[in-house]
Assembly symmetry: C2
Homo-oligomer: 499 residues x 2
């Protein structure tokens, strides 16, 4: 989930200076419209790791916006007054009225996350707290509130560096408390708990926006721009007389966002393996996989493999290297193309539920439910509220699978745009591969950037601890196949140990 | 919650014979329209206590409707196939396609409720299962499915009688299994678990309809009519091109429903107390309350008292008898009239959250958040989706209060229509009471039947084990005041024992 917030995104100074004046003017304008019309309240949550610039961002927002229409509340330790009432009382008190923007620094998320990270509450109590939060936010959203939740993230190394540099600066030192270092020691725990919390609470009504916190200019612009976009959009809907507000949605890819690196840029596509080495290791891995699959069958451990990737990314070849290592009775390959009439008449997940493997078997999905947030999103086959909702639906679906003991392994096969073109041309030349290449492939190729953004969001929102994404550098087919087989073997070994 | 399904509602034979032919024709018509247009699937859940006529109702629906567009599934013990896959796999399999009605006899509710009633799973596991169910139903509803959930209820005595009479009938005997009797022994446990389950899962997308199961004609007509109403409504919305289906709503009060008894009819308004006895008992009760309030203050137990009732029902007088027994520093009376501008600019619950008492104090609400589902509903100040949603919001709110340890006691002061008129007239004659009576009171009075239905729904949906409604027979003020004081004293005693 946070992988996409460790990419080193930044904004250059001259870009920042060019963009900020316009953004500020726009913010003041929508703020004024909001206050004049008073159609709904805006609730902005500022959450995230220490040292990621939360406080500074709140300051900047105050600087940029009209403080008369802004109400900021920071939540510290509970007061006597607050302790004597139910937990949410303090938050109800702090809610902004219609027409105003309330910035909440800290929030209803703070306590459950901190308590869980320190082991003071159990996992079920965290789940329970998150369910209550969802109910609370749903009530506010149903009443019309626009809820914008920002989570500021820093990679572990970056956080350490940042805390140290703050400490060195006499003017900034006060920002670092002993508690910050105490939290830092629990970085990995906080990472896990926050992932869980964000995933459970990224709803259609109130989705999270994860902000890479390393670069101040980047984070200020991201937050400011997102507030502007969402507020503009909601005001427009309201003016059109929408009685029921559409859920807050993913930020429109701002120009800065388009130019920022995505998770795919982190992959080193130069990775390759010599043919000799490949043949040797392939045989070894296939032998290992065969033995593991037998054992899984005996122990009734089921497996679901998901293959996604660019056209001509090598999914088919990789799948064949897997199936050739398996007993034909043990697996099924489900190629996912356009849905049948029958499938269309059901919920989009229905067609995937159908093929869930029995105990000990393997289902390989050649493309999958991720079509909803990829091709259906990019091509506009699914409406925005449909594919936005799908992230959570997919996470739920995969959680049910893994909760049942099924091993779920997901691959994205990544190749460069040049490599794709090379393969297209090659296919056109090879008679028995010609059927594989159509005009549609070229059409999809033209939307490469949109797909790349969609992949980035997909990984951000559906890479879970129970079913993480494996991004495969696939310019070299040998390298890709070996890596995939290795991942599957390790996943099975892990599951069999527990079975 | 089930109080309203033990009222002895029934349909006479000649009414039934008059109503059924029209209902059947209408059902066939909408079914056909549904099948031709295929706009969405319809999911009908048939759940409830044994012997309440679930199976017979499914049979009747088959008889009334076109079986070609109907798919019924009964869920028995898990098959091998099912056991080897996640829990919901069997339900996904059974979902109807767009254009058809799927009747599910038993459902995703059966297992968690039965397991909890038998103590096989803990309370948190039940909560977790219910949260998953909500997510599942939300996904289906978001995809357009119309979900109609029926819960068949029988009072304890009626159920026993019914099981016995079934056993005696050679043709019906097979309907009664040893398991039914085993369940019956756990009647009270099942009652509690079902209440919990229904309340947690009666959502805007998929509300429960509780059906009094004692009279066959009543239950068949209720279910058939509700399916007809909801399907008609949804088809109409769809034809209007609503992209986002409005949530399924409360059944429009069918003509039969209007004539059926409500929970208020169960009250014996003739109850009264002699003046002498009243004066003596009042003093005793006030003394007891005073001592209890002191103790509650020491032990930091807070109390919320809610007074609702007909105009001129005697709320003010009852409240004065309470406050005169209390230390003035310990309580606040909050009269709820039209909201202020500030209050209007917030969520409707905000104004009530403001006045939640501190530890050990008492807040008395003279009218309350129930205005949302009473006056705002009847007068149309709140849209249907708003007041329908409010039941759950209110339950959540009160659960947070009681979860924090606050005692919540709710009263509905019931008087007869005649008695109300008598009191209105009396007020008009008494100079210092004239201010209490306005034209509005007469206007409200004209909507007596609507209010009565609203009270019935309110009790059905918000009488919880943690904050039950107390219906007060208030034609006699003395009787009412004593009963109210008694209830408060007992509630405080119970809470203080635990504190």
């Amino acid at each position: 989930m946070f992988e996409t917030a460790e990419l080193g995104r930044k904004i250059e100074k001259h870009d920042y200076e060019r963009l900020v004046p316009k953004l500020r003017m726009d913010l003041l304008r929508v703020q004024n419209e909001l206050f004049q019309k008073k159609p709904f309240p805006v609730i902005v949550l500022i959450m995230g790791v220490d040292g990621a610039g939360k406080g500074e961002t709140v300051n900047i927002l105050h600087e940029w916006m009209d403080p008369r229409y802004l109400e900021a509340t920071a939540f510290g330790p509970l007061s006597d007054e607050e302790r004597e009432r139910p937990d949410f009382w303090r938050f109800w008190r702090a809610l902004p009225p219609k027409g105003k923007i309330g910035i909440l620094f800290g929030s209803w998320y703070t306590r459950p996350i901190v308590q869980r990270a320190y082991g003071e509450i159990k996992k079920v109590a965290l789940e329970d707290a998150l369910a209550r939060i969802n109910t609370f936010e749903k009530e506010l959203a149903a009443d019309g509130a626009l809820i914008l939740k920002f989570w500021f993230h820093l990679g572990k190394k970056v956080q350490k560096k940042r805390l140290k540099s703050l400490e060195k600066d006499p003017k900034q030192r006060w920002r670092v408390t002993p508690q910050d270092w105490k939290h830092f020691k629990l970085y990995d725990t906080f990472y896990k708990v926050s992932t869980r919390a964000l995933r459970s609470t990224s709803t259609g009504e109130a989705p999270w926006t994860i902000v890479e916190g390393a670069d101040p200019r980047y984070r200020y612009l991201t937050v400011g721009q997102h507030i502007l976009d969402q507020l503009t959009r909601r005001l427009k809907e309201h003016a059109k007389g929408a009685t029921r507000p559409a859920p807050a949605e993913k930020p429109a890819p701002a120009p800065e966002r388009q130019r920022q690196p995505t998770i795919l840029n982190t992959l080193d596509l130069a990775r390759s393996v010599e043919k000799k080495k490949y043949e040797k290791e392939l045989e070894e891995l296939q032998g290992r996989l065969n033995a593991l699959a037998r054992k899984a069958s005996q122990k009734a451990v089921s497996t679901v493999l998901v293959f996604e990737g660019w056209d001509a990314g090598g999914k088919g070849g990789a799948i064949r290297r897997i199936t050739s290592a398996l007993d034909a009775r043990a697996y099924r390959v489900i190629p996912i193309a356009a849905p049948t009439d029958e499938e269309k008449s059901h919920h989009y997940l229905w067609r995937f539920w159908r093929h869930i493997p029995r105990a000990g078997r393997i289902t390989i999905y050649d493309r999958s439910w991720y079509g909803r947030v990829m091709v259906e999103r990019v091509e506009g086959f699914a409406a925005e509220h449909e594919w936005m909702r799908a992230y959570k639906e997919i996470n739920n679906f995969e959680e049910q699978l893994t909760g049942h003991g099924t091993v779920v392994v997901k691959f994205w096969l990544h190749i460069s745009k040049d490599e794709q073109l090379r393969r297209f041309k090659e296919r056109e030349k090879t008679s028995y591969k010609q059927y594989k290449i159509t005009q549609e492939d070229y059409r999809n190729r033209a939307k490469w950037d949109d797909y790349e953004l969609a992949v980035n969001d997909m990984v951000e929102r559906t890479s879970t601890e129970y079913a993480p994404w494996h991004l495969i550098e696939a310019n070299d087919k040998y390298y890709a196949r070996l890596k995939i087989l290795g991942v599957i073997c390790r996943a099975l070994e892990g599951a069999l140990k527990k079975a």
